[in-house]
């Protein structure tokens, strides 16, 4: 029977695998090939130029700006999203105590879960469009309107939000406002992810901790967090990918796609401009080099992350 099973599996996997190779893997390979050429993108003429595009990458001022902006997201997005998601998940699953016996979440936790998860249902572009109305830079904006009505903001100087390059803690304000949306949109998914993981932790572990007089604080850091280690680690890798992208929000929301004046430029926005708008010849090959560099960087980060957090798995 074993032979039949193999044939069965292969039969089912062959077509999807072929499609995947043709439409995903092969274009990746092509990009790597193009990154060593001076291809302009619109003709069939290209020459092999070795690592010249990669050398150029290291001397490109705009890429350097974009790189640090991505690093900013790489640090903040996972940190804040996972922190908030863990906090909420804990409250929703084991945070409620009341005066009854047993382990449960805070009152109404089912409703909160749905509310927090809601942004996940919307596409990222839709979220960006929606937030444009919230972040609008005159008194018609949802936030500015409220702030002006309550007198917190002067009506002649409304907040610029995603059009504001003023540095805050050394990072342009526009990036902080975009970070806020990314976190708002991401927390729900990881909340549900962590909730599921928490529900898999046997209740008697908590009850034992409770009997020993552990506070919520202690039970979170001494019981919950160590048992969620694997899940958090995976979440960190996912969020790292998202932080290195961020393209949709920047492209839809910021002035001149990466502005004002390069204040929100990220790897992907520079890549897009280089590939399709730059006036230099050989732009497409150079853009491919950017993509390949970003891909390598992402893989190294993911590998490091999974390696560092790898530990003995606890069975329960």
């Amino acid at each position: 029977m074993r032979h039949g099973k193999t044939r069965f599996v292969v039969g089912f996997l062959a077509l999807p695998l072929a499609l995947y190779v043709w439409y995903v893997v092969w274009p990746f390979a092509q990009s790597i090939g193009y990154s060593f050429t001076d291809w302009g993108g619109y003709s069939d003429e290209q020459h092999y130029i070795g690592f010249a595009n990669y050398v150029r990458l290291f001397n490109d001022e705009l890429i350097r700006i974009a790189f640090w902006h991505n690093v900013f997201f790489l640090i903040t997005v996972p940190l804040i999203t996972i922190g908030l998601a863990l906090f909420f998940a804990f409250l929703l699953n084991v945070g409620g105590r009341g005066n009854r016996a047993g382990i449960r979440g805070v009152w109404g936790s089912g409703v909160y879960k749905i509310i927090f998860f809601f942004p996940q249902v919307l596409s990222l572009v839709l979220i960006a469009v929606m937030w444009q109305a919230i972040y609008r830079g005159d008194d018609q904006g949802l936030l500015n309107g409220l702030l002006i009505k309550t007198g917190l903001v002067d009506k002649d100087h409304p907040l610029g939000f995603v059009a504001d390059p003023t540095p805050f803690l050394g990072v342009p304000a526009v990036l902080w406002w975009i970070l806020f949306i990314a976190v708002w949109g991401g927390v729900g998914f990881y909340l549900v992810l962590f909730s599921a993981a928490m529900q898999a932790i046997p209740k008697d572990i908590y009850e034992a901790a409770l009997l020993d007089g552990a506070s919520r604080f202690t039970s979170f850091f001494r019981v919950t967090l160590p048992l969620l280690r694997d899940t958090v680690s995976i979440a960190w890798v996912y969020l790292g990918f998202i932080a290195l992208d961020m393209y949709a929000l920047v492209f839809v929301m910021t002035p001149s796609q990466g502005g004002p004046n390069h204040a929100s430029e990220i790897f992907a926005s520079v890549l897009n401009f280089t590939a399709f708008n730059s006036s230099r010849s050989g732009r497409y090959g150079y853009a491919c080099a950017m993509g390949v560099a970003l891909g390598i960087f992402t893989m190294i980060l993911a590998a490091l992350q999974l390696r560092i957090t790898r530990r003995e798995r606890l069975e329960f």
């Binding site: 830079g137 008194d139 500015n144 409304p158 610029g160 502005g259 004002p260």
Partner: protein, 473 residues
């Protein structure tokens, strides 16, 4: 007349997308150059012709058929039906088959090398790439149309009934291939009702504007709104101001990447006026962050007195124009009485019509175009679509659109036409200028820094041997 430069076809179309998406409310998108694959060897026209007379300058044969393909987009497909009645009145024995579609490329491209239609409205998202058609020799030269007697008056050539820029816009490699039928005018909009009520007159120069602005502010209205999120909207205004202040040569030098072109007196006068507009607090609060529709709506809501944009404005905002609002366009202001080109107007044509070289009845196609360009054909188009045509005075008899009437009037007083090419020619300068204009309009950059920034960007492009250079005169 500047020669049409050789441009990277797809790059051009892609960039043009942003601007033309707005132009006349239509969307002209890049089309792949698939045509190259199916272009057969170009042969001469296989038209059967009748005798040529002043009333039938291309010799359309009696009993022949004319296939006309209309793009049914933002301008609709009603107007060619009227042109057909004009055509039938003159050529009763010629049959015109009008058909309308939105899939110009999908339906016409496969037919192109064998049995194309006789006249095609090549427009919309699914239009055919002009560069490919022209390079493959698939289009008929419409030069004879320009030199033919006009529909209404045999003593006037068609060429002389067209608005300035139309011939230039349709000329590629020195030949006239595309008859752009719709005409877009750019300028500064105001609400006549508001101005009448307060006894204001629209300014002609920045000096006049700065004198009027305090009176507007006293009414709790911001003098000037703009679309800060898309700085190319303000680029139309700033480049027009530069042209008017410094004259044609100021802009030509900028396009040609001439050293110091951004720092001449004419350019600085326009930039200083722009800086003052922002620094004196004459712009609508938050304008630097608004999108085009947001700023346009704020202007319609009466929050600002002036707004710079093109003549597609009425069509774009038609669902939210308040009752009793009289939108009118005025020319971009000059800077002062010392301006070198005070009557220059920024305008251009779009919505192209082409005649395939291999069509069975090219003469019929051209004759139909001649009918479209007639006075009554143009007037009908204007009254149906509230857009101007490339024929002079098309808006003369339209009474229900102050926007159209004012644009029509503006074109009558027009001197030379403003045009600038550097954003189309050099993507890097497109980006650099949008960034710098964003900073200037947000008040974070002075006129002097702006000039330095743009000069540095231009010098960088000029010194980069990997960038193909273009020139104009």
């Amino acid at each position: 007349m500047p020669a049409k430069p050789q441009r990277d076809p797809v790059l051009l179309s892609r960039r043009a997308l942003l601007q033309r998406a707005a132009l006349a409310g239509l969307i002209v998108t890049p089309a792949g150059s698939l045509l190259a694959a199916c272009a057969g060897s170009p042969t001469s026209s296989n038209t059967t012709t009748g005798s040529k007379t002043p009333d039938n300058p291309f010799g359309v044969a009696d009993g022949s058929k004319v296939d006309v393909i209309v793009f049914n987009g933002g301008l609709g497909d009603e107007y060619p039906k009227f042109d057909n009645t004009l055509f039938a009145a003159k050529h009763g024995k010629v049959t015109v088959n009008l058909s309308s579609t939105q899939k110009i490329k999908t339906e016409q491209q496969p037919r192109f090398s064998t049995t194309p239609a006789d006249l095609i409205n090549n427009s919309g998202a699914d239009s055919m790439a002009l560069d490919a058609l022209i390079n493959d020799g698939a289009l008929a030269d419409l030069g004879p149309l320009l030199d033919a007697p006009s529909w209404d008056d045999p003593n006037v050539k068609v060429r002389d009934t067209l608005l300035p820029g139309t011939v230039d816009d349709g000329t590629y490699n020195g030949k006239f291939y595309v008859m752009n039928y719709a005409y877009t005018v750019f300028g500064i909009w105001y609400n006549q009702v508001l101005f009448d009520k307060n006894g204001w007159t629209p300014p002609k120069t920045f000096d006049e504007f700065f004198a009027l602005a305090p009176k507007i502010k006293a009414q709790n209205i911001a003098p000037f709104a703009f679309a800060g999120k898309y700085p190319y909207y303000m680029r139309w205004a700033i480049m027009s101001w530069i042209w008017k202040s410094g004259g044609r040569s100021a802009v030509v030098d900028i396009d040609n990447l001439k050293p110091g072109a951004w720092k001449t007196d004419g350019v600085m006068a326009a930039l200083n006026a722009t800086e003052k507009l922002v620094k004196d607090g004459l712009t609508l609060t938050g304008s630097a962050t608004l999108s085009h529709t947001e700023s346009q709506q704020a202007w319609l809501d009466g929050k600002a007195a002036f707004l710079p944009v093109g003549t597609w404005l009425e069509n774009e905002m038609k669902s939210t124009i308040p009752a009793g609002y009289q939108m009118k366009i005025s020319n971009f202001w000059g800077v002062s009485s010392a301006d070198k080109a005070p009557n220059a107007v920024y305008a251009g044509s779009g919505e192209g019509w082409i005649v395939p070289k291999k069509g069975a009845n090219s003469a019929g196609g051209m004759e139909f175009l001649r009918a479209m360009l007639s006075k009554s054909g143009a007037a009908k188009f204007a009254s149906l679509t509230h857009s101007l045509t490339s024929t002079k005075g098309s808006g003369d008899n339209v009474t229900d659109s102050t926007a159209l009437t004012s644009a029509n009037g503006l074109m009558k007083s027009a001197g030379e036409l403003v045009s600038f090419k550097f954003p189309d020619w050099y993507g890097d300068l497109d980006k650099a200028s949008q960034n710098a204009i964003g900073e200037l309009m947000a008040g974070r950059m002075t006129a002097a820094t702006f000039a330095n920034t743009m000069q540095a960007a231009a010098d960088k492009v000029a010194g980069d041997s990997s960038i193909k250079k273009q020139t104009r005169t």
